[in-house]
């Protein structure tokens, strides 16, 4: 990709900045060729990667190097886009929101600094991937389990900082963060929570602070660069029991949610329960053309054929219990009794005990895998996906309304419908995977139009997204409109106070610093 300079930075000044960065991180860790820029592009971009181009990347190896790079970026007015491992796939990968921003690649900061099996936590640098931490814990025979997202190729901290979701009792990943070390936009260094006291022993254990706790100011944020963080881990259970139901009909999701949510809120179920629809299974079997050879969305009649052919329900519910065997059985009995009121078929039961092998693909046991990315192969060509991810109250009324709304909009755009709900207690996250061939301009244009329609209609109904792709950060932030976008005004005041040069991640989540506020794209993305 050809060079796109940062706004208002000359080529000469840009090269001076890169030379200065090189003086900090060393030759070889400032990456500025066309090929490098390609590697930091959004590989799933709905359209041209050149829409969100990085100018270069710089890869520090320590907190001191991060501080020095941030100070230099202020001096040269070259904005930085921090990424941990750059695998935010479907949301922009490692590409920056503002063209010409320099990626601050933290992938070299990959040390696991501490792990404590008694109190169940670890301290990580941002470059530590889920595979790295899993293998570290396995080799150390540490009785600790992770929580992993569907695609676990990325960074543990990066995912938590971007509000990622997993499918264990520790599935709300940002809630597992406890005690951050942060480089502020001026290069200052601070620690959140009890870490504000030098040498404090409870830094990664006490989730609040003396005074305001700033921890979540740095999640989905452009107010600092997190250089290390404490992360709570689940004690490895002595036993586990998995119940699996195939749920026959689409509309059954209503009673499923009404049955599971009270049990989750009251603590009978302690994991995040993932409820994918049928297409989540079929994408693993082959490509779209193997199942439906017409260009438009797969019709209901063919869907029903496939469900029969593969003995699938429209949804699959899997609930896993963790702990002692007798408690797991007692909890399972409560759940089975609740399901029997709606479904005659008993669940498939899969028991596990400490020492048994773990399935390579079981995200409910915290095993990392990238196999979910096989969905990228569904449509063929350079397949890609975007996730439309609104959050809804966990009741049938809200879930059914959301399902019908998104289904209708997606059908009107003639796109295959692949929905899932992840139940986290009082709310469910509804992820609609929109899959497309990047080399098919008609499909790309249609997906963009569809995404706009989903955002607009869903917001008008009273629901917002928890996370979105770079290209829609402004439109989604527009939907958070209470009192004339009061939250945006606060975000901008804080941003301008801490980052007067607008150095860190301009435009992240729709928060633009004064220096680049004109870059905000209002209204729908075209």
């Amino acid at each position: 990709m050809k060079l796109t300079l940062p706004p208002r930075v000359s080529l000469e000044r840009f090269h001076q900045a890169l030379n200065a960065f090189e003086g900090v991180v060393g030759k070889g860790w400032v990456l500025a060729t066309d090929e490098d820029r390609d590697a930091y592009a959004d590989l799933y971009a709905p359209g041209s990667e050149a829409e969100w181009p990085a100018a270069a990347a710089v890869a520090p190896a320590s907190v001191e190097e991060v501080r020095a790079v941030v100070r230099l970026a202020n001096e040269f007015k070259t904005p930085l886009w921090p990424t941990s491992r750059g695998k935010n796939l479907g949301y922009g990968a490692s590409a920056p929101r503002m063209p010409g921003t320099i990626v601050l690649d933290l992938g070299r900061m990959s040390r696991i600094l501490e792990w404590d099996t008694d109190l169940g936590y670890c301290v990580l640098e941002p470059g530590v991937g889920f595979f790295d931490l899993y293998e570290h814990l396995q080799r150390a025979q540490a009785p600790l389990w992770m929580s992993v997202p569907g695609n676990a190729w990325g960074s543990v901290l990066g995912n938590a900082l971007d509000h990622g979701i997993g499918y264990t009792p520790y599935g709300l990943h940002s809630r597992n963060l406890c005690g951050l070390e942060v480089v502020l936009p001026d290069g200052d260094l601070m620690r959140t929570g009890m870490g504000a006291m030098d040498g404090n022993h409870s830094w990664h254990l006490f989730p609040s602070s003396f005074g305001p706790d700033w921890t979540h100011m740095f999640t989905q944020s452009n107010l600092g660069v997190v250089t290390k963080a404490g992360l709570w881990l689940q004690p490895a259970p002595e036993a586990s029991l998995l119940l699996t139901w195939d749920i026959p009909r689409e509309e059954d999701i209503g009673w499923v949610i009404d049955t599971l949510a009270p049990l989750k809120i009251s603590g009978v179920i302690d994991q995040n329960v993932f409820i994918p629809s049928w297409l989540g299974k079929i994408v693993l079997l082959g490509q779209r053309r193997d199942f439906w050879d017409q260009p438009g969305a797969m019709p209901d009649s063919r869907v029903q054929e496939l469900l029969r052919e593969h003995r699938l329900g429209y949804w699959q519910v899997q609930v896993r219990f963790y702990g002692s065997e007798s408690v797991n059985r007692a909890r399972a009995d409560i759940l089975k009794a609740a399901f029997r009121r709606h479904l005659d078929a008993p669940p498939q039961e899969t028991a596990w005990q400490a020492g048994d092998p773990l399935s390579q693909y079981d995200v409910t046991m915290g095993v990392p895998s990238a196999v979910a990315l096989q969905m990228g192969d569904w449509v063929g060509g350079r397949g890609a996906h975007m996730g439309f991810s609104p959050v809804v109250p966990a009741t049938s009324k809200h879930v059914m309304a959301q399902l019908r709304r998104s289904r209708e909009i997606i059908a009107a755009h003639d796109v295959d419908f692949y929905a899932s709900f992840t139940l986290s207690g009082r709310f469910a996250t509804n992820i609609n995977m929109l899959m497309y061939d990047r080399d098919n301009p008609r499909q790309v244009a249609n997906i963009r139009k569809l995404f706009n329609a989903l955002i607009g209609e869903t917001a008008r109904a009273g629901y917002g997204e928890y996370r979105t792709h770079l290209g829609w950060m402004d439109p989604v932030s527009d939907t958070f409109d209470f009192n004339g976008h009061a939250q945006r005004r606060l975000n901008e005041r804080v941003k301008d106070a801490l980052d007067p040069n607008g150095i860190l991640a301009p435009g992240k989540q729709g928060v633009w610093p004064k220096a680049f506020r004109a870059s905000r794209s209002g209204g729908e993305k075209t």
Binding site: A39, G129, R139, K281, E309, Q360, V367, S369, D377
Partner: protein
Amino acid sequence: MKTRLAGRAMAVWVIAAGVAWADGAPPPPPYQMRAPLPEGDRLVPGRDADALFSNRCGACHLAGGMGTNILTKERMALGAPPESGLLVNRSDLTRSYITTVVRHGKRAMPSLSRVEVTDAELAAIARWLGKAGE
């Protein structure tokens, strides 16, 4: 229409969230531990290529990985044996092809940055994996 892959899919590790998907399908391979990243300067040649491949590429290209699964389907569609879905079993890959795919991506595989795989690491991996020569 009929589903086109009913037979060949059986040989592929097709698993959904830990539950065997197809009747008669073998159990999934256990988690494949990658080799630790070899010590040493990542910008300098001379580190263990086998371990580098395992560590840098293993999240997708060991048994049961995303890349292996997709390649297995592709290879079987071409009449090749399923084992050829594993890159280590291939004898037809050239070094330049490997380098190109890593740096430019291929279909579902993204390009990898020089932080993820340095030039020295990629050269070692391509030399080790590229049994068809340059």
